[in-house]
Symmetry: C2
Subunit: 712 residues, 2 copies
Amino acid sequence: MASRAFDTDTSGIEFFYDPRSIAIIGASRNPRKPGGRPLVALQKRGYSGSVFPVNPQYDEVAGLVCYPTIVDVPGDVDMAIVSVPASSVLDVLEQCGEKGVKAVVLFSAGFAEVGAEGEALQRRMGEIASANDFRILGPNCLGLMNIGNSVMASFAHIVDLEPVPGSLGLVTQSGAFGAMIYAEANAARVGCSSFASVGNEADTEFSDFVAYLLEDPATEVIGGYLEGARDGGKLRRVAERALERGKPIVMLKVGRTPSGARAASSHTGSLAGDDQIYDAFFRQFGIVRIEALSELTAFAIVHGGRRSFRGKRVAILSGSGGYGVMVADKCESLGLIVPELSEATREKLQRFLPDFGSSRNPIDLTAQAAVIPHMLENCFRTLVEDEDIDIILAHAIFHEPNAMKIAQEIVKIYESTSKAIVIMTPVRADFGPEADHIALLRTARVPVLSDGLGAATAVARLAWYQEKVAQAGSRERDSRPLATASAPDVAAALRGSDGLSEHRSKRILESYGIPITREALATSGDAAVRLARELGYPVALKVQSAAIAHKTEAGGIRLQLTSDDEVRAAYAEILANVERAAPDAEVEGVLVQEMLEGGVEVILGATRDPVFGHAIMFGLGGIFVEVLRDVSFRIAPLTRDDAREMVSEVKGHRVLECVRGRPPVDADAIVDAILAVSRLVTDHREDISELDINPLVVFPKGAKAADALIRS
Amino acid sequence: MASRAFDTDTSGIEFFYDPRSIAIIGASRNPRKPGGRPLVALQKRGYSGSVFPVNPQYDEVAGLVCYPTIVDVPGDVDMAIVSVPASSVLDVLEQCGEKGVKAVVLFSAGFAEVGAEGEALQRRMGEIASANDFRILGPNCLGLMNIGNSVMASFAHIVDLEPVPGSLGLVTQSGAFGAMIYAEANAARVGCSSFASVGNEADTEFSDFVAYLLEDPATEVIGGYLEGARDGGKLRRVAERALERGKPIVMLKVGRTPSGARAASSHTGSLAGDDQIYDAFFRQFGIVRIEALSELTAFAIVHGGRRSFRGKRVAILSGSGGYGVMVADKCESLGLIVPELSEATREKLQRFLPDFGSSRNPIDLTAQAAVIPHMLENCFRTLVEDEDIDIILAHAIFHEPNAMKIAQEIVKIYESTSKAIVIMTPVRADFGPEADHIALLRTARVPVLSDGLGAATAVARLAWYQEKVAQAGSRERDSRPLATASAPDVAAALRGSDGLSEHRSKRILESYGIPITREALATSGDAAVRLARELGYPVALKVQSAAIAHKTEAGGIRLQLTSDDEVRAAYAEILANVERAAPDAEVEGVLVQEMLEGGVEVILGATRDPVFGHAIMFGLGGIFVEVLRDVSFRIAPLTRDDAREMVSEVKGHRVLECVRGRPPVDADAIVDAILAVSRLVTDHREDISELDINPLVVFPKGAKAADALIRS
């Protein structure tokens, strides 16, 4: 990854976040109107650049000279906020071009979202922007705010809120939802550095603003609301860059409910729902996917503690045994470890705990923690000193008169260690004044959260993210070289046909280093018998035709043939069946193939996703795929880590280990085959639309593709 | 169920909730001490009965005459609150007996929770209570509050909170956690009718207080925090009664993480973790299990709307498309239905929506909903009139100056319909003053929740609960009579042995109406051959011995034998293998059994749980159980509905339907077999500890037990 240049184009985006002057075209005297609200907010928050209202109806708005058109404005204008009827937008954009504007924030609606005519207008906008070398945010967006320099280029109601200082940068494809996220974060005292609502993405898109925030020193966490990426490749490059920078992207993407399967003739294609692909993409590139708004603020709070986790071992301190167990359950369900404590640590803890407390993890301090001086502090200290604990989650009870004293103890501990500590205790999530002890903790950057389950979730996600960052750092080193493609005819074979027969598909796989069954093509019964003898009985016979994707249904397969007579009979029978089932199919011949004994069947595949390109699939054979749809995806090209994760991610992965006394199968052989598929579809991205290896039979040593299908 | 009398003993519990007089033994002048806090709270809240401080150190406490012992108190004392050192507790209890006290709330700690000596003291307490005809709550508890009559018999900090009016009755096995739940509910303006912390349950237990609340008119929802039921049978009767009464019990039970598998020789036993059994119990008896504190308040709020759902079809209205999709995803993941709307409804909606809104469910009103008059009202009206919608989840945006107007519109709609409506909009969850529009909605009983995902979850849980209530009402009618046991020797066969051989186990199953394979026992090679001929080839041979639970491992099984010679050889081989593997095993003979062709393998079983009695298990064969542990449990005796749910609940249940062109298997045959197992273990509850039918082979018509094991 380190070798790939960061080629995402963010040129021009800086004028949205840091314009030296702003014109408001369609300026209004009504502070509730889109043309009025930003004007008021810019003034109220003290934007230091020049502000120029533009509206032919007025000479003056909000105490400023108002100009009839932007061309009339004296001096340079970096940003134009445009709030005019859809019908005037193109003219206004031309004027912006004439004036040399760099960035247009286009509030106006009525474009691609309302139909074909609007779409055409929107395309025209992009052309005007390109021709005039400016960028457009929108149309149909709520605009942008950059809190640090008071660029309040938005008409969302959130511009009226008193900003909370903070470093969460928001980019959203839904204005309304984005504004809700901003408001909820502020209520939880997670301040935002900036907010960008990208609207219809006529010119700039979601990824451009995320890319900019990666380099923005005021932003430590990027929160995104995504409905669909316009350019999956660009989002991938941005995500890779984010991992390099170690700046987390936390993403809310809705739409888990499948909106109907796609038409696909491969297994892989039919299993690749949009959400599965996005989910795989997020996992692969370290984007933290969340399910609820509150998870973003919780993540930002825990991340704000600025601690690297050395591992995933969590100690839980709680004033109630039950609460501790509840949090422990959540931790373990999310992949954190809540280990038994060492005897030494337990003995130390017991010295501080009341006799009805518990020194077993989760540690039950009992309600006495709020009363007995230094008890919480002493227990904290013990856990900080325990080398086998990486993260401390503490449920603290702050009752008067001890609340401040306990908070001070916690701060002292926090500042004395580099371990991660998270405090769980009720915190107000509105704009009211906060308790003194909470303020003290927050000022010292101690993460404090109301919701214990939310705290556990945020810690688990951050631990996962930190692992992803570490993995990204060592990706290059980890990838072994792949077998080089030695088949110059791959592209030729694929071109000009809808798909390839099993035999031809397997030849291509073989050229990419994937072992296949021993087999040969027969075009007569006699030839089939001869080949069967050469291979050794038992054998299988399978009709070969690019037109027959489902050979079994066409009666084109006979298995476990043990004699010359059986082979001869099967050959004739298959041809007769196929003649009936698919009279027009061009038959290449009948494949004579060795029968594989033992092994575990898995499925590998690839499908071309319209957003992200080829997605690679892995699944276990039989009911795991057919009944449980238990498969994993990653976006090609893959690293070895990606392939390994695909294998370990399926729910039934234990099947690959020892089951019923069978030795474990060769997981490396699966990983090698996955990587070979990734290489193949990457080399031939234009030619291959779908690929199935179903099954790949995996043995204690090695694997063989027993059937395959490639479609162009 | 209706025929079963409600035999849970709640006699005496009423004196905890409604005492006419209260003595506080160990009364303190310090309002922060356990002996001081309730005294202050009783006075502050205006408890109308007599209050008697008892403490030999004082003549007067809090302006009341203080007595040296409870015996010195003039007049009757219904309740004694006891806060004295552990060493004095037994004496004090004897005095309470002498005085004729009815209910003792025992705060004191230092009993079963600290070791064997404390346990002995605790047993003694129970004896004193029985002998003197009073009941004890505790010891080691936070006590009890009944808000309606100001019985503040608790020293938890929550007695100091200004009570919020409400009808949530809390019963908790953890005082500290219970107090957290109470405080969080109050902060969310979900008032509690009462609070009971049951502590060590020396005399009364969790179920007693839940049982009382079932009959308490002030309580509409019961919230429980449970660590483990002392008496599973009692909890079951209480839960059944709750379903009859239609009063929901919402339960938080932690401890999902397995604490180590039990020693068990059956499959079923090894799969039956504590949490699986509790979870099954909750599902079976309509107890709403929650994962987080916030779910209890959300449930109470939605339940407080007092609407019966006619179905599970949800329409979602939202001011942001993305938010609507997020809520829709959650609804569908929890079993609610978010249907396409009819053309008629969509046309009506389109009249009210802006042209960039969406009339598809979830319906996107856009942010204009906060601005355009009557838009929300009109859309609501349209959905209320749509017969295909049962529940309306509406995300409402309240911005000034329209907030009150919109709230009034919602109330008008709500009062005009009996459909369920839930509003999602930010609500304060602390004790601060609430916005006028929220207060208006709440007063009209319109459920209002901040968290859209929480709202969807609460609606889904209430829909599930209402279905359970309806199902309970029709349980009797639904149960078909079972085959009567015709084998008088079942008990005899089971007694005096650790377990039964397959053959003997199957004979018992057969007597309960479970079809078994055709088979007979051979004690010589010649007999085996004769039996094989009678059954018809192919056959299986299996060694029969109560001492050999795992026949395959002992080399005691030969399958697919097709000739006399094979049978004769297999017979000899099996005996030789078993002689080597288990020389001391008493061998009954070798079972000659038909081979079953086709069919789907499932597993049925039963295991005796120490809390709930026999749990019945169902699972699909092979990897579903071995790798995925995909099984379902219910507590015997079962209804037909229970058995049906067990079958549909496993993740792989689609295997029973059409797979790969195979016809669906006979699900009724599985249900019959499950019910027969339930009947068998219920009839012989003392004799059977574990039972496995592994596999039961299920065909398109009928099923047969192919192997079985019963252990006593």
